[in-house]
Subunit: 310 residues, 4 copies
């Protein structure tokens, strides 16, 4: 049997060293956090590894937007699979609006009266969505492809990204770097409903099957496949299921607070993915039970240090 | 201040009476479970109340399929908003396959070799999905609407439902009773990927905007609106967000195991929905922190008893 | 493979029948809830089975007090292992105070000013604890054993129970029926600190080792051993660990909302107990992930129906 | 309204800077993790602040033992309030045994046969506890105070600590530095039951009220009071409740995975502590929903960096 190594800290310990100490415990959450860094580094350093990043939960409103766009710019992430909401909030910031510090104990009637929406302890003004709607309608008029027939959601998001100037935008970074953004449930979002109004005016048509072609093309061309799953939801399922077309991912890190016992996919440990051919039996995987908003910045900062030092 | 009433049990206490005792505590989970029954009864008894039922998690594989189809047949539920997976598993049972008792501690490599997929402690044979694919392709050839151009996901599911003979099927019950099944992320499912293959052969086209029309029509015509949310996910968001077009639902019950602190919608208490106009400030709502697979059969059985007795 | 049986409800379905339907699914939370009833019935019906009931969390404030005292009166529970707080709150009600319906969103500064303590959404007046202190000091003067030297916590709680008139009291029921109440961490409670003041006046001395003798005597004399664990904490550990002296319990039901991944005992599934000799390898056990305040009244009501019908 | 600041990373970002970036989001878990560092630094740097550290969950087996003993040696922690188990596992390592890397998916029957106990994915040999028993009995013979009458649990643990040579031991560090270890439920542990056997041979007697004197003395002499709560349980309650004797702590950080909704103290947010006078209304507090094994090493490493740099 292999003993648990006790963590030793010292002032000025670097992130990489700290995470290495935590990995060396080899057990529970500390061991898993440390191992996550190793797997993420392995994905990022291997030019043959196609990296899928799936996003669920309010990652953009919570402050992870620049981290995600930076990963795209560095060429470390190849496909984004996301809830609609995270892209909506990327647009909200792209047009100059902000998210605000609020409280879990807010009086929601008062917020409603003040036209402020609440996401946990984050506030966002309804005005942002009104401005977004105007901005979006202008963009739609400007996309020639929309005149030719139905396009994929991914293509639409790419065209929107092309028209964003904010250098911190995920959509812009993805468009600039040829990283497809896949969002099979995108119409379930505020922008989805705004697009529906534009669709009634014949301004936009979508063919959702095209998105399956986009993601499976990425799967088919992958020599090696890695996935980082932030928070579950349909992005987790879509990203993993698409990878069944190549017999599963080789490397996987999932960070979630959802429980396994109710049986939903969001809370399922990655072991379950083996039975479905989503993860190779010989693949490396870590299921980390932690809030992604806490763990992901730490993992990425440690991975950057590790990669930078070679 | 209003005192907590201690629960008193006796042999032969009926479900309705038990839940009434629990409601009378007025606090914590017991109070909320009891209050959930009241709200569900209020939704079901009021002919003017349009009832949305949202489904996430493996409710059909876990044994809730007949409960859900029975609610549709009784006319108590008017709109289903669901993950794709629950409808896939309804089809699996409709064509004669079963879900099986398994183990959370399974060896997933062995399951994979034996061509068995695992959902928590539930097993399903890959053969079921192969048979489903054949069955589906036959059905697609048989739907005249598919020849005319893109249809909604809801319409496609209705047409599938019409071709199911199994009286326990949710899809059949919904088709028979004019209850639309809305699944904005449906393509993120095994059947979604099978449809994609059919789409490559020009056998099916979908226009996802049509589904927004279907659900908002139901919202616009609702005199009163109630929602029962099982488990979170995009069904929760879509069902609630659609109701912003009438300034929110009047009655809401959410049953989830997800936490509020990470900020994701699945774990958000219903109070948050007020700020977004999804729930009326004067509406009645209960957020019950419980596994839906545990709580929902109990709530429905108690509600049936209450409604039956008048 | 054994198929999942879909649950079928009908108006007027009894609790026992409903729980039997849920058990027959055989999977996830519904299956486990149903199986819990069977194990509890098996424990209660077997006169040779010594039943340990462990209590953690605000079960008494939440309305489960009468259920617990009724189980003792029926002779179905033989040993209570509990946090101090549950016994403190039993005393609070015994002297005529109440717990009150409050809110999770309370302003705690205001509650403090109003001298109200909050437990989740339950309120209790500080006055209750002041009255309790006076009552307790009177009782201490009245217990002859306290003059003779240190006694066990269990003996002290028994003597307190003897002096309670409220027929709903757990302490009284336990004293009347010779059911020991074991609370190894009892001094960590409001009454614990009040006793400390009395100890400074030489009014009370405790020998905590005597409590180990009390619980292990129950373990040694048990022909068969069953345990019902509500909520984890030290009551879970103490109840299970004491049973290592007879190579583990034969029957076990645990109801908890705590997670397994952090590795703490409260969230550990009962399988882990086998490795420690706390649960027999051939024993029957169910770990139910549910709020005990929700599940326990349902399980007990169904068990009463089953036992009553024979 | 104050905007959420997006986190910006760069290769080589130090822990302190990373945590500062996270704090500046001001929301959700990242904001709370960052704020936790600030509060911990404030506690550690202020010589007038008495710092209570409460321990629940398998912190020592998981690799946090040296971190905790180092905090004591640096004089940053003044009182430890702990479950018995963490001190048992400190002794296990002190006498030369180890904890081992295992698996959550272990076959517990096999572990039992091999005489290995499991804590989540950590293994420990039963042989360790047998050696511990022998070692302990020798030590007991060597403590003169035990011949004079009942002593406090804290005093006993101090005497044990004095007899440990392992420089990484928490018990030794505490004994060497005059930091009391308080464990009101200590007898609920493997060593507790071993002491019970020694008590039967008249080798040890304990007076648990003495421990209340030890902790309240620390509370009374505190000019300022801070508490770091790892994981809930009775250590959380005892540490906070003792501080009601000075109208509450001034600074508090809680790290837990337990939920608030079931109403138990372990999952209660620190706001609730205000109503009870455990936390000053004007105090600073952060409730961080995270596995302590993940968050605590990160917080301490960042705090060390901050303090070292002044």
């Amino acid at each position: 049997m292999d003993p648990v190594k006790q963590i030793r800290l010292y002032p000025g310990i670097s992130l990489r060293e700290l995470l290495s100490e935590m990995r060396e415990t080899g057990v529970l959450g500390a061991g898993r956090l440390g191992k996550s860094v190793d797997l993420v580094v392995e994905m990022f350093k291997d030019p043959d590894c196609t990296v899928f990043l799936t996003l669920a939960g309010p990652l953009v409103p919570a402050g992870l937007r620049v981290i995600i766009s930076a990963l795209i710019k560095r060429g470390w992430v190849d496909v984004i699979v996301t809830t609609g909401a995270n892209m909506v909030h990327d647009m909200v910031e792209a047009i100059g609006h902000k998210h605000y510090k609020g409280s879990f104990y807010a009086e929601d009637e008062v917020l409603k009266r003040d036209e402020v929406g609440r996401i946990g302890d984050i506030y966002v003004e309804q005005k942002a969505f009104e401005d977004l709607e105007r901005w979006l309608h202008k963009i739609l008029d400007d996309i020639p492809e929309l005149k030719k027939g139905p396009i994929s959601i991914s293509k639409l998001l790419e065209e929107i990204g092309r028209r964003i100037e904010d250098p911190d935008s995920i959509l812009k970074a993805a468009a600039d770097n040829g990283v497809p953004i896949i969002s099979p449930g995108f119409l379930d979002s505020i922008v989805g409903f705004q697009l529906w109004i534009a669709w009634q005016d014949k301004k936009v048509q979508l063919d959702p099957f095209l998105d399956l072609t986009v993601i499976t093309d990425k799967v088919f061309e992958a020599k090696k496949s890695g996935i980082i799953i932030l928070g579950g939801g349909y992005p987790k399922h879509f990203g993993l299921f698409a990878n069944t077309f190549r017999d599963g991912v080789d490397l996987a890190v999932q960070i979630t607070m959802d429980r396994p016992e109710p049986g939903g996919l969001s809370g399922a440990p990655l072991e379950e993915a083996i039975s479905w051919g989503k993860l190779k039996p010989e693949g490396k995987a870590v299921t980390l039970i932690c809030d992604a908003v806490i763990a992901f910045p730490i993992i990425i900062a440690a991975a950057m240090e590790a990669i930078n030092e070679g």
